[in-house]
Every structure is written in structure tokens, then in C-alpha cells.
Symmetry: C3
Subunit: 416 residues, 3 copies
């Protein structure tokens, strides 16, 4: 097979060139099967994908499964404690091996002919095969994996891009949050009737937050126009920043986002496809909950509620908002030009107990509402961009700079 990065059809190259600078992407970007297939090859089979939390598979033999478009992947904790990733496909006749969403196995046994693979992916037995079969050539096909600060990333690429920059950034910023000493309190799977790029564009600006997210805007300063802050608003932001424990206040510039608006992300010209930052919360909010009060015990190393929100994201499929007591993450998986599967994770400290230490009905609404509000608006945007009457409009330099940056990142990825 030729390297899919070296050639894109003239049609697709021409399509990529039709986007007008400072404007949204044209109609075909959101509905063309051929472009979607090219995106799978160049972006989704090229980059690093968030797969889940290491804490979801704490013990040897624990596994989780998911699919990138039509490619099933298996994450499996080995006897040595390391998480491995494999193509979840038997080397014999191609049957999907692990079929549950999650579970624990002594060995990976194919349901078809009982070929059996060890927890490190090696072929143990190949029932019925000829004597000459070379088992060493028939182990599970590995997928690149990196476990970083409790987050598990995979790459389907033959030679993945460098992940060390992300590792350094996330390891430093996520350390106090303790994702590796946490547990997933709840998961919600959403099926979004929209192209995956619309979901990202939605995520990359908060101009829509006042119309769409009444609860979200009470807690955050994202909607502030940093080019035109009123003295009163500046005072509120400064006070909120001051409430964060001095250690965060003195953190390096790269981590603390001590003003309104959204941190710049992505930054394709500087190769930044991941980022983390810490933002203060508005007065009355120590966490992202409906009433602003704590909904679970403090996480990780935190000894105070005054930590604001740690935000991390990586392209093409991950973001998280982590407060003092819980974190809410999102994992994106495309499933067609007009369908995107989103998983929402609610994460708490490992020692927190449901019912006693936290109640889901208090913890879920803030982000479950925000998610549903976003997926709904993406659905209606898809219906609109599918129209022959759709013309990409101008992006606001004050509020949608990150949408523009996302589109530039996308174009760069697609051009290879």
C-alpha cells in the first residue's frame, strides 16, 4: 500500500483551495464521501487519538474497545501493567475479537475458531492451523499507544507524529489533577448528526455561549471580548484569578489563562495540536456545577477548592474541563460525513464513593446540558451547510480566531 500522505486527488486538492481566508469552509467540506475517506487516512489514521483513561482498565486483562470509523481498536492492560493497543481483529479470518464495550480477559480468544492471544498480543494457539504456521508472524497487529498523565492515546499511523511535546505539557499540567488516581463516575454516549469538523468549530469559540449555554456562562469568562474589557469586568477577572491559590497564580504563563476569552488553540503555524491552560471561575463557582458548589471530594493533589479549571485539548478528538472536584472529558469518533460519536466522561477522585461522597444528579447536569445544547446546534448547522444556499460567512477575529485556526490546522493536515 502506498503512503496515503503522498497523494490526494486533484479534485480534493482543488476543494481544499476553495476556502476563503477568514471565512468558514464551503459546503462540500461537510458532506463529501471522498473527502471523509481522505480525512480518515490523513487525520484519523495519522494523528494521536484520545482512547480513554488508564483508570478504566486498572488491572491486568482489563480491556476497553472502540472503533475509529470502521476500524475496531482494543486497549488491553498487560501483565506487566502496561496498556497496549491492538487492531481488534483476528489474524486468522478477521473476526472482531473483543465485542463488549469493556471487560477482563485472561487471554484474547477469538469467538470464531478460538485462536488465542496473550495479554501482550502474541499468538498463543491457532486451533487447526498447519504445523508450519509461524506464530511469531501472527500476533495481534499493534497500534501505537502512549499513556500520559492517566490519559491513553493511540495512533493508527505506521509512523506516528512525535508525542513528546504533548507528554511534557500534559504531564506537567495534569499532575495535580491526578487522573491516574481517579475513576470514571459516569459515561454518556451521544450520537451527533453532524460532521466532526462542525463539532470542533463549535468547541473552538464561546460566542455561542450566551445564546446556547445559560448555565455555562455563569461560571466562566470565556465569553469576554479580550480586545474590549470593561473596567468592571477586568476587576471581576482579576478577583477571580486572585481567588486561585497562589501557586496557580504564579504558574508559568503557558499554564495560567488569567484573562477572558479562549486560550489560542490550535496554533498550526507553530505545530501546536495540543494545549493546556488553567482558568479562574466566576464568583460563586468553585467547580462547574449548576449552583457552583462542590459536587465531589477534592481530586488528586488538590488541598483547596481554589484551583479554577484545568483545560486540556488535543486534535483531532479530545478535550477536558477539570475542576477541583471532578473533570468532564469528551472523546470524538467520526462515523460518517454526517455522524459523529461523542463520549462524555465524568471523572472523580479514586476514593470518592457514589451516594456518599457524590450524587450523579448533582454532578451531571452542568456538562450534560452543555453537551446536548452543542450537539443540537451542530445538527441544525449541518442541515444548513447542506443547503445549496449556504455561503461560508466571515469569522469574527475577536471571538472566532480559534475556529479560523482549526480550519488552518485542518487544511495543513489534509495537504500532508
Amino acid at each position: 500500500m502506498t503512503d496515503p500522505r503522498t497523494s490526494l486527488s486533484p479534485d480534493l486538492d482543488a476543494l481544499l483551495a476553495t476556502r476563503r481566508a477568514g471565512h468558514g469552509m464551503p459546503r462540500d467540506f461537510y458532506q463529501t464521501e471522498a473527502l471523509y475517506a481522505a480525512e480518515m487516512r490523513r487525520i484519523w489514521q495519522g494523528g494521536w487519538l484520545f482512547a480513554g483513561f488508564g483508570i478504566e482498565l486498572p488491572n491486568p486483562g482489563d480491556y476497553i474497545t472502540f472503533a475509529v470509523d470502521t476500524t475496531p481498536v482494543l486497549l488491553l492492560r498487560g501483565d506487566d501493567g502496561a496498556v497496549r493497543a491492538f487492531h481488534n481483529v483476528c489474524r486468522h479470518r478477521g473476526t472482531q475479537l473483543c465485542r463488549a464495550d469493556r471487560g477482563n480477559v485472561r487471554a484474547v480468544v477469538c469467538p470464531y475458531h478460538a485462536w488465542s492471544y496473550g495479554r501482550s498480543g502474541e499468538l498463543r494457539s491457532c486451533n487447526g492451523m498447519d504445523e508450519g504456521a509461524d506464530k511469531s508472524q501472527l500476533g495481534l497487529r499493534p497500534v501505537h499507544v502512549a499513556e500520559i498523565a492517566g490519559l491513553v492515546y493511540v495512533s493508527l499511523a505506521a509512523t506516528p507524529p512525535d508525542v513528546e511535546g504533548l507528554r511534557r505539557d500534559f504531564a506537567a499540567s495534569a499532575k495535580p489533577q491526578g487522573f491516574d488516581r481517579a475513576r470514571v463516575a459516569h459515561v454518556v454516549d451521544y450520537e451527533v448528526e453532524a460532521n466532526w469538523k462542525l463539532v470542533w468549530e463549535n468547541n473552538r469559540e464561546c460566542l455561542h455561549c450566551i445564546p446556547c449555554h445559560p448555565q455555562y456562562v455563569k461560571a466562566n469568562f470565556d465569553v469576554v471580548d479580550e480586545t474590549n474589557v470593561s473596567p468592571a469586568m477586568q476587576q471581576r477577572i482579576d478577583a477571580a484569578t486572585a481567588r486561585i491559590a497562589p501557586k496557580w497564580q504564579q504558574a508559568s504563563e503557558s499554564v495560567l489563562h488569567a484573562h477572558g476569552g479562549l486560550a489560542t488553540f490550535p496554533d498550526p503555524e507553530r505545530g501546536r495540536w495540543f494545549a493546556s491552560s488553567r482558568t479562574p471561575l466566576a464568583e460563586g463557582f468553585v467547580t462547574e456545577s449548576m449552583d457552583g458548589s462542590r459536587v465531589a471530594p477534592l481530586m488528586g493533589d488538590y488541598d483547596s477548592e481554589a484551583v479554577g479549571v484545568l483545560r486540556m485539548r488535543s486534535l483531532p478528538n479530545f478535550w477536558v474541563h477539570a475542576s477541583c472536584d471532578h473533570a468532564v472529558a469528551a472523546r470524538m469518533l467520526p462515523a460518517g460525513p454526517r455522524k459523529t460519536l461523542m463520549r462524555g466522561y465524568w471523572v472523580v477522585d479514586a476514593k470518592a464513593k457514589e451516594g456518599t461522597d457524590y450524587q450523579l444528579e448533582r454532578m451531571l447536569p452542568f456538562w450534560h446540558l452543555t453537551n446536548e445544547q452543542d450537539w443540537n446546534i451542530c445538527k441544525w448547522q449541518q442541515k444548513g451547510v447542506d443547503s445549496i444556499g449556504y455561503v461560508p460567512g466571515p469569522l469574527s477575529s475577536r471571538f472566532e480566531y480559534n475556529v479560523d485556526a482549526f480550519i488552518r490546522w485542518y487544511q495543513g493536515q489534509m495537504r500532508g
Copy 2:
């Protein structure tokens, strides 16, 4: 974008040429995605489409929405009382603006970022945009609209075909019916599992009426073979024609259809894509109801039940049968090569009150049955023409001349 009317691929041109004169259309006409896409461009984005009745949006700010294939359209009554049509898509990021089937708005406000448009489509506010944004260039994209005798037509074409002929014809023939002083008593939406052309072919002949429509044939003379009328039948038709008030009897030839069979329509060689005619009803029927008796108060200018049925049609998507007391219209919208959305409208005089002046259970059955019988047979025809064993058969010159005319009209439209 080049004018889609100037080029059709050699494949599609060759396909159009495969139809044998006097016969139905070959298999590929009813199932090919590429042909369907070409039909959208040449016919559905080219001609005039019936959108609804003006009485559905009586007041300033009233709107209705619908979609032509994947293109959402908004009909909106302005403060000046005029109906306007727009692409129902925000000029900012392309979100569908009005999402309900109908409603009333002070202004059209995008649910995403709250861009706001006046009732004439002008951009009022573009929340968050840069100072330099030229609002005059960002109003809603207009769709051509014509309100004619209470019917609202739209055209998605850049330069629509002339509509004045239709206006003169319908304005004259529909005046006494009073569609502009009526109201929609009921609407039924049908999803037909067939290509839109099969639905038209079904509409354009009544040879199927005896096998398919037992209630319809009691009221109408459509099934009569005009080349071979028995003296007894001619007497019945003459008597029925005589029952119509003298004013209709003396109407110009173009309006009164004082014999059996279907009026010739369309007439592609003379450029007739619309037509109206008035037909007498069989003895015992003053309206198209199950028992033939009146089911609502007289409409419009009528002062007698003896008006027969006013029939109007326009290609590619409208027909109506209007009796003395109510009218039943059909609006067609394609939704894929094998899916067509049909809306049935039951219309009564504006002053008629449900429960007192009319009962839906008496008014609906005649045409609701007829509709369902037709959509069902179209579904089974689609299954048959999808077969490799299907060979287009001969059309009857006595009964299916209008099917042949429809096909000739279609070929002409597609050839541009």
C-alpha cells in the same frame, strides 16, 4: 460556479436518449444518484415550486419552512404584508434559522450566535463580528417568490423562468374559489417510497382509477375514453355539464373541460407546464366526498353547489382539486431517488369553523384514501422498475397521453 444548465455529462445525455418513443422510461431513470442530482439542478432548482398557501401565514412575522431535497427554505410574511422567501440558512456559519414547521417571529434570530435578521431579510445585528463587517452584504439570501391567487410559489433559480403565464391563468380560474380568503383545515404529510417521477406519472392518467380508486371513480368522468364514448355516457356527461351553473358552462374553452378523460397536460411542445380546467361531477356528487354531499360551507365567491371541480396543476410539484366547499391540494418535494415527500392540504372557506361547519372525518376520507392508494401503488412500481427484468412498456394513446407528455416535458427540461 458554472451555469448547471449548460452541461450534462455525456453519460446522462446518453441515458436520456435511451427512452423509446411512446414507452415508459428505462430503469436507470428511477434509481440513479447522478441523475437525481442533475434533476435537482435542472428542474427543482430551476423551475417554480409550489410552497404553500398565503393563508398559512396571514400576519406579519408568520413563517413556514420546508426543504427542497437538502435545501431549507423559509417563507416569511413581512411588515408590508408581502410574502418573502429566503434560504433558511444563517449568513454567518450556515445554521438553519427557523426550525419549526411554522410559527411567528419578530425577527429571524439564529439559534447559534444570535445574528438577527429583519422580517425583510436584512441583517440587523451580527453579534461579535468585527467593526468592518458590511451588513448590507450579509442579509438573508433571497429566493424568488410569487404569490398568485393565494398560492405561494418559489424558485431557487438565479434567473427563474417567466411566471406571468401561470399568474394570468391561475388568477382568472382560481378567483371564484377564493384561496386568499380560505384557511387550511388539515394537512397530512406522506412519505412515498418512490421516485418523484413515478408519482407524477401516476397523477397524469386515470386508467388506474378503476383498479385503484373505487371511491374516486364514482364522482368523476376521468376514466372515460374520449375516443369511444357510448351514447349513454355522453348523455351523462352532458347532463353533468348542464348541472354546472350557466356561467361555468359558458366559460372559455380553456377553462371548461366538458367531456370525459383528462385534460391534456403538460404540453411541452407549447411550453405549458401549468394548466387549469373545470370539470363537472357525476350525478349525486356536488363535491369530492364519500357520499357526494357537501362537507363544508361554500367557498369564495360561490353562491351555488353547481360548480363542479376546479383543477389546477403546475410542474414539477403541485396540483389541486377544488370543489364548491373545499379544495384538496398536493405539494411534492423530492428527498432522494427513491423517496418523495407529499403534503396533502384540505382547504375550506376562511369563515368555516371546525365542528360546527364541517367535520374532518367527513371531509378527509375521499382524498386521503385516494392519496394512500396512489402512494402504495407507486411503491410497488418502484420495486418493479428497480428490477433487471423491467422493460418499459407501451403507453396507451387513449389513456396515457399525459404520461407520455410528462416524459417529453422531463426530457426537455433535462436537456436544458
Copy 3:
């Protein structure tokens, strides 16, 4: 129309060449629309397809309907007692004629315009057509049919391949089973979410029987590795063979399969796309039932339970397992690259009466379980072969020789 057998696109020819000898087929074979369309032309519109049992339509006017992909076919018993097959499509406008799964008709009357065809397919009346219409040219389009030992086969080909070899083989081997003196006790329709070739590959090996079919392996010797039979196993097989009445024991080699493993089928190099064989059952089993005991009266000519299982198969769509008391058949019909419709038939002697002579709850489970186990594993195999991580694995020469033979047969058919 050109003969579809003479040309296959360079792409498809290249695709066919990508299969590595002794291995499964690559990913594209199981999901490509273009390949599926070529398969319809070359295999499903080329060969002989099992359509049903003659006993399903015992009387003149009895009919059954089915569809090969999107091509509806009608099987109809004529007044002369012969079964005929037709394209189930009206010669007028193409409507599907008989719409029920089965029934009885005096004449085939189109539901649309009441064109009427005699039970031999001739056009009787063509309501509304012009005088000049030549009825002799407008009869139902025939489909080739062959009734063989109670099985009805059809071919959509213009010139079908020779069926006399199958006729000789099946007539001889099926005679004592008496499919022509039987009746269908029960039918189950299954929708399998997998490519039709995966269903055949599943059928052509029993290496999966121990992991997948706990009940099946108790009754049969299919799982035995004939290259390495233990003395104890050989003793069991010999004893089982000896239990079969001497007449079967002495039958010609081509019929009696007196050892373990699966009979070789297909044999593309020798042009064998059909085969029959008789196998002994394991001790304790006189039929394929859950407890091994008889579940219905003896069928056909049998005067003893000691008949083992008569197995017959023909490509591309039929197999049957016939025991002394009942037979279980499978008919395959493709419905898209990832969807296959399977019909399971349970057949008993014509004189057997439900409730008195047999109970469905005793007869169905053995094969209904086996069927569901197979369709489920095919579904998971489809999910795996859809992956970019799927690599066709090696086939076992001892257990999967028939899978390899099926693939060779398939390649030969597709190359024409």
C-alpha cells in the same frame, strides 16, 4: 446491452488478483459497491439459484415470490402442473405483480391497471391499450426454471449454465428423501449483517463448530481432522457408518461420506458447483435434534431411522441437511454488500401432522440455534474485515480446504 460476462473493469480485475493463495480475501472483497454489482451480474444473474420447494406451490395457481437483490421473481404453478418462473414485473409500467410472499391466483392481475396474465405468463388483457398492441410480445418475461427432485431452481441468465449434472446427482441422491412428497413445516427468515461470501465461508468449514456450535458437534463428525484420526475416533466413525442401513453403506463412493471432516466442495477445477453426500450420525443421534431422537415420522422411502444425514449444496445459494424424519434447508439471497437474507426451511413428510406427529418446539432448536450462532459470528467477522487493520490470514489445509475452494470458485466465476 452487452454481455456482462465479457468485461470487468481493470480495477475489479486488479482487485481479484490481490488475494494471496491459501489466505482469505482482502477487505475490499467484502464491502465494495462496485464489486457487489459485478457479483450480481456474474454470479447471481448467471448461475442457478435455489428458489424453494415444489411442494410450496402444490396446486395450479399457487405462487411464491422472492427477490434477488432488487429483482423480484415469481414462481407459479401452471394449469399443466409445471412450475414456471417469471420476472414479477408488469410489462406495462413495471409494477411488481404479486406482492404477497405466497398465495394462489386464477390469473396474474397487475394491481395498477389490471393487465392480466394467464398462469403460463401469456398476456390475456391489456386494459386501455391501443388496438394495435401485440399481446404476443407482452407476456411475462420468463426466467429459466428447473424442478429437480422437489427442489425448484431458477436462473436469471439469458443462457444459463448446464443444469443436467446437478439434476442427475440430486435426483439420485434425494429420491429416497422424497422432497416431492413432503411439506414445509416451518420457515424462518434471517437478516444477516454480513457479506454473502462470509456466510459461505462459514458454511464451508467446521473448525468453528466446537467454539460456536455445542449442540451440533454432538451429532456430527464434521470436526474430525481426517489427516490425523485417533484409533478411538476411527472406531466411532466406523461404528456410526455401520449403523446406517446396509444399502447406504454399500452406496457408491460419490454418495457415502464414511469418514470425518467435510466432503470436498466446491471443486472449481472440476466444475463442481453442486454436490451431495450422505454422512453417518454420532452414537445416540438418529436425526439432527437436540437429544438425538426422532422428531417427526420417517420421510419419503425411508423404512428405518438408520439413514444418517443426506447433505446437498449448490452454489451460490443452497444447502440442506436431511435426516430420516426431517430436513433443514437454507436459501441465501444477497441484499447489499453487508446484508444477506437467509431463509431456513424445516421440511417433513407430507403425511405428518403438526401437534400429532411432530412438535415444532422439538424440531426447530437444533438448526435454529446453529443458524443464529453462524449469523452472529458472520456479523462480527464483517465488523473485523471492515477494519483497515484486517489482513487476510492463512487458511488451514486440514480444516479450511473448502473455504479455499470456495474462494477459487468465486474468483473463477468473477473472471468469467
